[in-house]
């Protein structure tokens, strides 16, 4: 059993957060996976800052690698958070991917808002999801709800 002791209300809230974020990642990944014409090229080419880096990622040879990695990370993070397995690692990787999304089109005053609904000043939904993953990382719940729950049982017994 992990060290964390949450009240049941806290545990339910944290598990719900983990499942919702996992759901969102997985669905985004699957939709892209099953759509062969999808590419991140346009999003990267229209980056409002760090254009050389994003431009390089969108360049001919890199573009397809970036697309595969993008889909891979979305699916892996989604699966991990939903199943409750290695969620700490998944959170870190997910935060990294979202940080790239954010940096390509940051909601900084003076920059074009880019393709998004709603109105944002510095904080946008990518940034909020990064924070959500941060919470998921530092308040693990897979020991209580997820594959790690079974595995920890197995370890206890084996020992």
């Amino acid at each position: 059993m992990e060290d964390q002791k949450y009240s049941s209300g806290q545990l339910y809230a944290l598990v719900a957060l983990r499942l919702l974020v996992g759901w969102h990642f997985l669905y985004e990944g699957i939709v892209k996976l099953y759509n062969p014409t999808w590419t991140a090229k346009g999003y990267l080419l229209s980056a409002s800052i760090l254009k050389p880096i994003f431009g390089w990622l969108a360049s001919g040879s890199m573009s397809s690698v970036v697309d595969v990695l993008n889909i891979g990370v979305l699916v892996v993070v989604g699966v991990s958070l939903l199943l409750g397995f290695k969620t700490k690692w998944a959170s870190v990787i997910g935060m990294g991917l979202l940080a790239l999304y954010y940096l390509a089109h940051p909601a900084f005053p003076g920059l074009p808002q880019g393709p998004s609904e709603g109105s944002y000043w510095i904080v946008n939904k990518n940034l909020i999801e990064i924070a959500a993953l941060w919470v998921i990382m530092v308040f693990p719940t897979a020991w209580a709800f997820g594959l790690e729950n079974l595995l920890s049982k197995k370890t206890e017994v084996s020992n």
């Binding site: 939709v31 996976l33 229209s46 431009g55 409750g84 209580a144």
Partner: protein
Amino acid sequence: MTNDNDNFMKWSRRDMLRGLAGIPILGSVWFAGARVTGNAKRERQLLLETLNIKASPPPPTGPMSGDPVRIGIVGFGIRGEQLCRALGYATTDWLKDMKESSEKNPNDSRLRDFLAQENLNIKINAVCDIFDYRAQRVVDSFTSDDNKVQRFLTYKELIHSKRVDAIVIATPDHWHAPIALEAIAAGVHVYIEKPMTHNVTETYTLREALQANPKVVFQLGHQHRQTQSFLTAQDIIAKKVLGHVSLITTNTNRNDDNGAWQYDIHPDASPKTIDWNQFIGNAPMEEFNLEHFFRWRKWWAYGSGLSGDLLSHDYDRLNCVLKMGIPDSVMTSGGIYTHRDGRNVPDVLQVNMEYQDFSTGTSQPEGKEKGMTFVYSATLGNQFDRPTYLMGHDGTMELGNAVTVYADARSSKYADLIKEKRIDPSEPIYVYDPSVNQTDAVTSATAKYFANKGLLYTYRDGKRVDPTFLHMREWLSCIRNGGTPSCGIKEGFEEAISSHMAGLSYKRGRRIQWDREAGKIIALPGEDLDAILTDTKPKV
């Protein structure tokens, strides 16, 4: 010691629930995503199959092997310099400026793109420019150990020097035809800037000269014919996706000095450094003045205003897609409303070209639809972007670097699909985006956003390419390997006559008609069309 089976037995039902409850969620999300995308894909596929539009690039033009083609440049102003770069020759000062610019801004890819351009195996070894400074720039920049550039004081000397196989003409409009005619008679290949001619008679003379010298390869500088999206647009028309197109609207919107031909005057320019008599040529003699020399596009005596300068581009863009040819009649109006600086060409112009019998096909009963109006609307006092639209009974095409097609809500062809809600008239049914090498039947707001950002250019094999380079390459390939350039004399004749009809209508304030059988613009008794067209007096 316990084995795995024992471990399994230790898990309670509650443990199993807590451990594995994520799996059904995972399965549901995966299934939902795959199903939604699969359905959308199937719908898209069905639509694309129905539309059957091919966006494949044209076969590449032939090899550039063999001896280098020797080229002379006549006129090394703004456009002449650009054309030389498309041929692989940049001036020393341009290279220096671009190097500095790309060091300051790594996104500036102009130098990179230029250096990556294919070597066309040519030599620019002769120049004729009547302004000493410009001619000297060519000599200084393009001369190398194996290429000595010679300056000629007249175009005739250059053409007859035996140093050139081909020439590029980038002079003021009133010099286009005389120089081209001299070259054609001498068997020298010609790449000529638009508009092809400055008056009506020259247009016929040039056509006759090329008919008499069929070995001369002639290309008119409408480089957009190489743009991938226009080739796709041709296929959209051929597949009758739009139904009967009754109206085309195309526009020019510019709002800056450069766009209004108010070019810089070079400090070295003087009667000593410019051959003024040669500049005047067949235009009425004027006192030496720098305004006319550098800003010649503002006067009918040397240029052709919006109708020759910019309508010609838009006309040819559409003529390349529709092959509609010369209109039955043209009505033009306009005036000088935002640049009252002494110019006599209009800066606001509206041209309506009528095509009584033209049709792009119909989905309605035979005989119901026929005829089309081509509207060109231009201002040099506003730069709001107005796209080009081809408006048909079944659909609308927005034509630019990207091609977007919408079904019309009252279309006959798509009526069933619209009723079944498989087509939404407010969403594109087809988008061609040349930068990502993909076709997509249903686009998103995001894709629209990228298209509007102008990120979409002409690409070949995923590489960004300058259409002018492709256009000149095609010309050189025809010189080397045979073939017909995409903008030859037939296309040039149609471009020039249509532009001149627009100019004449503006000048006369009446409808100008084309006699299709006689192949002539109809003149009223006593009218000298050439004199009217190049008349330098302000419009009455």
